[in-house]
């Protein structure tokens, strides 16, 4: 099986996310044994943010890392496990809410594909960048 980074590269729809992870210096962490649960926004999710949003974050890596860490949980959790608990602590510190089981929704994002198993965790593909608050 591939790790989280290899899986994302193979999928072909996460180029912005992968660039952001690289710039923020989180690639090595996501290649480590983990395990992690990653809510991975597709490229369209980043493109939907107003102009300048991504650029400001990319220019300021600690701030970018903080937003990215909000998309990661410590531990590998499947959809079935996630929907059992209303909130999960993200690596950023703020809780990530599971809003709905059917369709599966994480905060204000809808999960497009759930439960992609990787060597070091589980990836759930989401249609929006999620933000703390």
């Amino acid at each position: 099986m591939a790790n989280i980074i290899e899986t994302a590269k193979g999928a072909g729809c996460f180029s912005t996310l992968l660039t952001a992870v690289e710039v923020a210096g989180l690639t090595a962490a996501l290649e480590s044994p983990g395990p992690f649960t990653v809510f991975a926004p597709v490229d369209e999710a980043f493109a939907a943010l107003p102009p300048g949003t991504v650029q400001t974050l990319v220019d300021n890596t600690p701030q970018l890392a903080r937003i990215l860490k909000y998309h990661v949980l410590a531990g590998a959790y499947s959809r079935a496990q996630l929907i059992d608990q209303p909130e999960w602590a993200s690596l950023e510190g703020a809780p990530v809410a599971i809003r709905r089981a059917e369709p599966f929704e994480v905060k204000n994002a809808t999960v497009l594909t759930a439960d992609i198993a990787c060597d070091n965790g589980i990836v759930h593909v989401i249609n929006r960048v999620i933000l703390p608050g």
Partner: protein
């Protein structure tokens, strides 16, 4: 005879969720349609843009001086010259304006605005030395900026991680380094620090809020200048356009770092390093809106407050002395922070607002009140932008077709409008153009 509507057409017109029963349902429905709390009228657009311009000029001074105080004046025990930012700070390139900016969304130049420099040289009286202008109080009222900073310092706990960090051991160690470096070679102050360490820590925390607010306003000044330029070019069609411009601006700089650096000579001490990951949106903008637009504190001097008779709320979160609640008339007294801002804005009003105020009420005689109410309208629009930005970041698009999503948006808007149920709120007043 009109043809009956086709079934398809009537289906698309059926709202997906029932109308709100909230007291401010009309405003909620407007927000759900992509509007602002402020009604979309040409006069409202003219008023708010004009006042953004008049606000941006003193703001260009506020942010520069706030950073000057946080970074250079720092713990000076007798800061008699803290309102005299050095030339370096007047020339400090704005991170979000000018050609050196990495994010070139707003046009303006990077240095202090020409209208500000002209006012600083001449004031209301005429050309004289800076010190005489200062002593005659013919200057930018920096006390207003400090009152806003103090509101943020005092209320705290309004989201974000800034205040928690100020309580952390890391921060205390950084502050300790800054205090010792600043008072190096000053045994009297170092002895005082040994005796009263918490007093010094508290002062450093306050300095960190100076930096926080300075970095917040550094962004808002070019945004407001740009809005004025766009309006002058005929670019905004209505109030929602102006609001959406602000929403986009909020997103564009949401990730801007909030930090506090202190300079002792050439040495830079990072009291709050950028690497802490604090952001403009979470650690500055949202706490600012809460502390300054909603809460602040009752203004001493206008009225005596009896806390035992519950004239002052028990809970800080219930404070409601911000501009969204202010009765602008009694506020218009000497020494009251909003009055200081009104006087600052008076110096930079665009001609179309001067003409408007002459036509209404007592003309020149009550222009401070009239522009104060314009400012109130404009801040309802800024608050609308913040509400829409939060909805956009945390909830769902306005054209979402999932009724559950629309209901979540509805609950959010209603919760925001609950804050305007108290009688002091001016939301009702600004719905009418007669409120001046």
């Amino acid at each position: 005879m009109t043809a009956p509507a086709s079934p398809a057409a009537s289906e698309t017109l059926t709202p997906l969720i029932p109308p709100s029963q909230h007291r401010w349902a009309e405003v909620i429905h407007r927000l759900e349609a992509g509007g602002s709390m402020l009604p979309d009228t040409p006069e409202n657009l003219m008023q708010i843009i004009g006042i953004y311009k008049a606000y941006a000029v003193p703001m260009d001074f506020y942010w520069r001086d706030l950073l000057y105080i946080a970074e250079r004046v720092f713990l000076n025990p007798l800061p008699a010259f803290k309102y005299f930012p050095s030339q370096e700070y007047l020339d400090l390139p704005n991170s979000y304006a000018g050609d050196q900016s990495r994010l070139r969304i707003w046009r303006g130049g990077e240095k202090a605005h020409p209208e500000l420099l002209e006012f600083m040289a001449k004031g209301e009286t005429g050309q004289m030395s800076k010190l005489l202008h200062h002593l005659w109080h013919d200057r930018i009222n920096m006390e207003f900026a400090e009152a806003c900073m103090q509101a943020m310092l005092w209320h705290q706990g309004m989201g974000g991680r800034f205040y928690d960090y100020l309580e952390s051991d890391t921060y205390r160690a950084n502050a300790d380094r800054a205090i010792k470096a600043y008072f190096k070679g000053n045994p009297a102050m170092l002895a005082l620090y040994k005796l009263f360490p918490e007093m010094f820590m508290e002062q450093v925390k306050q300095m960190s809020y100076y930096a926080n607010l300075g970095l917040f306003w550094e962004v808002m000044a070019p945004v407001f200048f740009e809005m004025s330029d766009i309006y002058d070019e005929g670019g905004f069609k209505g109030v929602p356009d102006a609001m959406n411009f602000l929403v986009n601006g909020i997103f564009a700089v949401a990730g801007r770092p909030i930090y506090h650096h202190v300079y002792v000579g050439d040495e830079c001490i990072e009291v709050i390093p950028k690497s802490e990951g604090f952001t403009w949106l979470y650690e500055a903008a949202l706490p600012y809106v809460e502390a300054v637009f909603y809460r602040t504190a009752p203004f001493r001097g206008t009225k005596s407050y009896n806390a035992q008779a519950y004239q002052v709320p028990n809970d800080q979160a219930d404070f409601h002395s911000g501009i969204l609640y202010a009765d602008v008339f009694p506020v218009g007294s000497a020494g009251i922070p909003p009055t200081l801002l009104m006087q600052d804005m008076l110096h930079f009003l665009p001609p179309y607002l001067v003409a408007l105020y002459k036509q209404h009420k007592r003309g020149d005689a009550d222009v401070l009140i009239q522009l104060g109410i314009t400012f109130q309208r404009s801040m309802y629009n800024v608050t609308s932008a913040v509400i829409q930005a939060l909805r956009c970041a945390l909830l769902y698009p306005l054209d979402d077709t999932d009724p559950e999503h629309l209901l979540a948006n509805r609950r959010f808007f209603e919760a925001q409008m609950d804050r305007f149920l108290r009688p002091e709120a001016r939301l009702g007043a600004i719905q009418s153009q007669a409120y001046r």
